[in-house]
């Protein structure tokens, strides 16, 4: 019997974008409301897991051609680089900087280097979760 999951695959295509943009919102809202890099990374990973469940690993790997192990490395470099940057400015390790900028279309915005550290955490969480799931899923 040939199985047919049209409804699941169509729903997965739609819901993936909803979950992914919600994860981006959680990531950027982490400074003033609950959320942040860790939860955002987990929600992004669960969006990709939804695609993996609806399709299969080879298809998802061709849709999102990312090597998740190097994603972990890039995240660690970003987080460590943000922490180490202040050492080159003759200030203690992990000193963060922030300032207010006037961006076009958005207006007065406070940009903080803690967001860069959060980006590193986000990439590491996505990479580690997807590596675990891919490794277990490919095992026979």
């Amino acid at each position: 019997m040939k199985t047919n999951d049209v409804i699941l695959q169509f729903t997965a295509k739609l819901v993936f974008f909803i979950i992914f943009f919600y994860a981006v919102h959680i990531f950027f809202a982490g400074h003033y409301t609950p959320g942040g890099g860790f939860v955002g990374g987990l929600v992004t990973a669960s969006a990709i897991v939804l695609l993996v469940i609806a399709f299969d690993i080879k298809t998802v790997q061709s849709i999102i051609p990312i090597n998740y192990l190097s994603l972990v490395a890039v995240g660690l470099i970003i987080a460590g680089g943000t922490a180490a940057f202040s050492m080159f400015m003759n200030e203690p390790f992990f000193t963060h900087y922030f300032d207010y900028f006037y961006l076009p279309l958005i207006g007065k915005t406070s940009l903080h280097t803690a967001a860069l550290f959060d980006l590193g955490v986000y990439l590491v969480v996505v990479g580690v979760t997807m590596t675990i799931i891919q490794t277990i899923g490919e095992d026979e």
């Binding site: 199985t3 999951d5 699941l8 695959q9 819901v15 979950i19 919600y22 959680i26 409301t33 609950p34 959320g35 939860v39 929600v43 669960s46 897991v49 939804l50 993996v52 469940i53 609806a54 399709f55 299969d56 690993i57 080879k58 298809t59 799931i133 277990i136 899923g137 490919e138 026979e140």
Partner: protein, 94 residues
């Protein structure tokens, strides 16, 4: 008055979760348990919403949405396991 109504609603949701828990434990087949777990997720979302009204905070809205996403994905994974026996396929011909 409002507090009483919210407490009554919360109690009713707890009773519903307890009854569903009975279905999870005593359910004769696996799909019964999957459906009961999915409904427990929905009732849990409602209970969190009522608690966040009682505490007068907006901090639980993220938890509500994330619980909805996780309940959805968990139910899909469970039902795929029931149907196919595997959750993650390596290479399907679909």
């Amino acid at each position: 008055m409002k507090e009483t109504i919210l407490l009554i609603a919360l109690t009713l949701f707890m009773v519903a979760i307890a009854i569903l828990l009975y279905r999870v434990i005593a359910g004769p087949t696996l799909p019964d348990r999957a459906i009961a777990l999915d409904t427990i997720g929905v009732n849990l979302i409602s209970a969190i919403a009522i608690i966040s009204i009682m505490l007068q905070t907006k901090a639980f809205l993220e938890a509500i949405l994330i619980l909805g996403i996780l309940s959805f994905i968990g139910t899909i994974a469970f039902s795929k396991f029931i149907e196919r026996g595997v959750i993650v396929e390596r290479k399907g011909d679909s």
